[in-house]
């Protein structure tokens, strides 16, 4: 495809093409994610494009039925439903007449999609609306031409075009003519108040398949002749394979082959169980190649970094040094988090069939384009030989951004020259992960004359530090002297993105700190936050990411909805407000004491994520994010000893269960801002909200996660209960 690296303003012609279908009907092809990138490279030679060059389609049949082929990887955030809803809204058809399908099945070219960072809807909003509106306009133009009237005299409603004389034509009746029309530019979008689909509840488009157990997931993918591969990888990070004996493995009936690749050994068998079981029978010896690290080492190293002076400064306002030198009072606290595995409930897996002619890949992946490219490079193949088919994903949480398991599948299939599927056991999935890195924060505030005059945040992390924009989140801009410093330690333990990277723990640290700061200042906890926000209003600093006005509204609504400060005796509350992934959130946790232990009963959560496309799906996301945040703050512990993870299955790694999940009361702010992230932003505030509520209940403050590791801090002294 010819592409040119130019920034384009929105031109439909650059990414849409229409044609009539042989069997009748109209098909509109467009490049969704290409169009979604804010500075997308546009295909310039439209005439040379064929339908394999597009990754998304709207099909309108002669009978008016609409099919939207959604190209989007579905990891559980509901975009396979919400993105087509946006198209259908502007197309002006009834949602009940729209059928959504996964859109890449008949193209042998890979496509460009990514799911992650809560950004699908944010980047998709404008292009999806434009796409639907353009298609609608073409149909209107076709009808107007037939009637010999001006298109501006026509209106549409639920797939029917009506002219001033009251004559009507269904979309299906004009698709043939529409297919021959020019793609119009500058179409008019609906006024937000006229939305009929956006903002209304729509059920998950795959609901029937899910509740009847249809094979939707990567782990269900199967082709004739496919064999299963279970892979033995070094048990500890830092180890290398020295030698192995596979005699016993090969003697297991059903085992097809044993292959060494890199530092790993693959056992190929006729079914999953045989492959997994026979792998356990491999006798491998491993030797340390680099340091075998333990959690205690990391603790010492990270605390050492915080005590040291080798930092990179990401943002510095005013003069923190001076503020601390002149302070009446200084508050300094350190917060500590462990590594975390993702534990998608569907363990990692991928299918590959590498032959002389082609590379066919299939499975659950959040980054299909990058993965296909890496595999083409690894196998030294041309990109047009590589075909990647996406399946539904049994959770992502960041883990499926990485294509390591797909690379393994391709490598093994290339060696075996068989269609294979790599299947991770839960133990493989947990022990061969790409973890949320362990991070420690030290926060220090200067107080002078009852005001916060300085704020200094230091981060010490494994492998990588917070990325560019985070230092511009709250309270950046609210405190005159403000500095964010980061330092890292390079470990051989693999780390990466985990639902709401960095903020998933940073929110706990900062929001616990504000709580304690309010106590030190002897001021109201919510008022302290509102006061700080006042300082940001009217700020000319365009690096600031959050809106103080939107944040203030969210805080006030959370106060109202949670009954903040108006709880009956015995209910203790904790407050958090936070901005991340372009959304503003406030959460209030209610804790009661049962048998001397604080128990989280309820979390009120107020979210401003702009327009909510599908409230039914959004609510599920928001509730899930809160409970996920509670669960990991309470229970998520993942330690290493001599490079080896100490938990490998759910016997040692605790995930939150129904009886431990608090009631979640979600409220969405109603406004007309474009939609922003929702898959992630409700998670980070949860840990801080419950820690602050627990402090209110027990008088003890939690500085380290997971909380259940510190039972002495999770208890109320007996006499207080009796008294």
């Amino acid at each position: 495809m010819t592409t040119k690296d130019t920034t384009i303003t929105f031109s439909r012609r650059a990414f849409m093409r229409t044609s009539s279908l042989a069997g009748g009907g109209l098909i509109i092809g467009f490049n969704l994610f290409q169009a979604c990138k804010p500075k997308a490279a546009a295909p310039i030679d439209l005439a040379s494009l064929n339908y394999n060059d597009f990754n998304a389609f709207i099909k309108i049949a002669d009978n008016g039925a609409v099919t939207i082929f959604s190209p989007n990887p579905e990891i559980g955030q509901g975009v396979k439903t919400s993105m087509p809803m946006i198209i259908a809204e502007e197309l002006d058809v009834a949602w009940s007449n729209v059928h959504v399908e996964q859109g890449i099945l008949d193209t042998h070219n890979y496509t460009r999609q990514v799911a992650g960072g809560s950004q699908s809807i944010r980047f998709g909003w404008e292009p999806l609306r434009q796409t639907g509106a353009t298609a609608r306009q073409m149909l209107v133009n076709a009808a107007a031409a037939r009637w010999g009237v001006d298109p501006s005299e026509c209106t549409t409603n639920e797939g029917v075009i009506t002219n001033a004389a009251g004559e009507s034509l269904g979309y299906g009746e004009v698709v043939k003519e529409a297919a021959a029309m020019e793609v119009p530019d500058n179409v008019k979008l609906k006024a937000i108040k006229d939305f009929k689909i956006i903002g209304k509840d729509a059920a998950n488009v795959d609901i029937d398949e899910i509740i009847t157990g249809k094979p939707l997931f990567g782990s269900d993918y199967k082709t004739p002749g496919m064999v299963y591969a279970s892979v033995m990888r070094p048990p500890a990070f830092g180890q290398k394979l020295e030698s192995f004996d596979d005699t016993e493995t090969r003697s297991v009936p059903g085992v097809i082959d044993v292959l060494k690749f890199g530092e790993k050994i693959a056992v190929l068998a006729n079914d999953t169980w045989t492959a997994m079981k026979a792998k356990e029978l491999l006798k491998a010896t491993w030797k340390a190649d680099t340091t075998l690290e333990s959690t205690e080492d990391h603790d010492t190293i990270l605390l050492g970094l915080l005590d040291g002076n080798k930092f990179e400064t990401l943002r510095a306002d005013g003069n923190v040094k001076k503020a601390f030198a002149e302070a009446d009072k200084i508050l300094e606290r350190t917060y500590e988090s462990p590594f975390l595995p993702h534990n998608c409930l569907e363990p990692m897996n991928f299918y590959a069939d590498v032959t002389e002619e082609k590379v066919h890949l299939a499975g659950p992946i959040q980054t299909p384009e990058r993965t296909a490219m890496m595999i083409a490079e690894m196998l030294d193949r041309d990109m047009n030989q590589v075909h990647l088919e996406m399946t539904r994903m049994g959770g992502g949480f960041g883990r499926r951004l990485y294509g390591d398991f797909a690379m393994e599948a391709a490598e093994i299939s290339n060696l075996a020259r068989k269609p294979i599927k790599v299947i991770f056991s839960r133990e493989d999935d947990m022990a061969d992960g790409i973890y949320r890195p362990a991070i420690k924060y030290r926060i220090k505030a200067a107080i002078k004359d009852g005001k916060v005059t300085g704020y200094h945040l230091k981060e010490a992390a494994i492998n990588s530090n917070m990325y560019g924009l985070i230092p511009n989140f709250f309270p950046a801009g609210a405190i005159e002297n403000y500095q964010v410093d980061v330092a890292k330690y390079n470990s051989n333990i693999t780390t990466g993105a985990w639902r709401a990277p960095y903020t998933n723990f940073l929110a706990f640290a900062e929001q616990s700190f504000f709580d304690e700061l309010a106590e030190t200042l002897e001021t109201d906890k919510v008022q302290l936050r509102l006061d700080l926000l006042q300082n940001v209003k009217g700020s000319k600093d365009d690096r600031i990411q959050y809106s103080p006005e939107r944040m203030e509204k969210v805080i006030k609504m959370a106060v109202d909805k949670s009954g903040w400060g108006k709880q009956p005796e015995g209910v203790f509350q904790g407050f958090v407000n936070y901005y991340c992934h372009n959304s503003h959130v406030a959460e209030v946790a209610n804790v009661v004491v049962e048998d001397g232990t604080p128990v989280v009963k309820k979390i009120t959560c107020v979210v401003d994520c702009g327009i909510v496309v599908n409230p039914l799906g959004a609510m599920n996301q928001a509730e899930g994010g809160v409970i996920d945040g509670v669960g990991h703050a309470m229970f998520g512990d993942f330690a290493f000893k001599d490079g080896e993870p100490q938990a490998k299955n759910f016997d040692k790694y605790r995930l939150i269960r129904m009886s431990e999940a608090p009631e979640v009361d979600v409220h969405f702010m109603k406004n007309e801002f474009s939609p922003t992230g929702l898959g992630e932003p409700t998670l980070p505030p949860a840990g801080g909200a419950i820690a602050n509520a627990m402090k209110a209940a027990t008088g003890k403050r939690l500085y380290k996660q997971p909380f259940t590791k510190y039972p002495e801090l999770m208890s109320v002294p007996q006499k207080e209960i009796i008294g």
Binding site: I211, K214, N620, R657
Partner: protein
């Protein structure tokens, strides 16, 4: 390899598999019933829940000798067309996020409600506590079980 005979979703099946192979993998790999999911293999997540003579069991922890001659129901056989009251409740509440755990949740809930058609909140939580939902769609699972109980009662 030994052969085993049992009923799956009303049909009589014979399989020829190694004696230590859990029912889960027989269903998924040998009978192409992939609705039953693998999550842990050690009976702790509930993804693999099926009914054995009407009782909810973890198919990852059942060997074929325990299944021989018995009757198994999987998510594919719970109803012909997704019309079991629990499935209908799941649909009405729009429970799933990623959806991976849901077959197991539905199988646990349907066996539970068969025995206790009028459960209270505590009983629902206790019955469903063995089923992990990593996406934490617990509020909706709870509501759907409540709703299903009104449909079944």
């Amino acid at each position: 390899m030994p052969t085993y005979q049992f009923k799956v979703n009303g049909e009589s099946r014979t399989v020829d598999v190694s004696e230590d192979m859990p029912l889960l993998w027989v269903l998924r790999d040998h009978l192409d019933l992939a609705g039953t999911k693998y999550g842990c293999g050690i009976a702790l997540c509930g993804s693999c829940t099926v009914h054995l003579d009407g009782i909810a069991v973890r198919s990852c922890a059942l060997t074929m000798s325990m299944v021989e001659g018995k009757s198994i129901t999987t998510i594919e056989g719970l109803s012909k067309d997704g019309s079991h009251p629990v499935q209908e409740a799941w649909k009405e509440i729009d429970v799933p996020q990623c959806g991976y755990c849901q077959a197991g949740q539905i199988m646990t809930a349907s066996a539970f409600l068969e025995k206790n058609p009028n459960p209270n909140a505590e009983e629902i939580k206790e019955a469903m506590d063995g089923n992990i939902c990593r996406c934490a769609s617990y509020s909706r699972i709870f509501k759907a079980v409540e709703l299903a109980s009104t449909k079944m009662a």
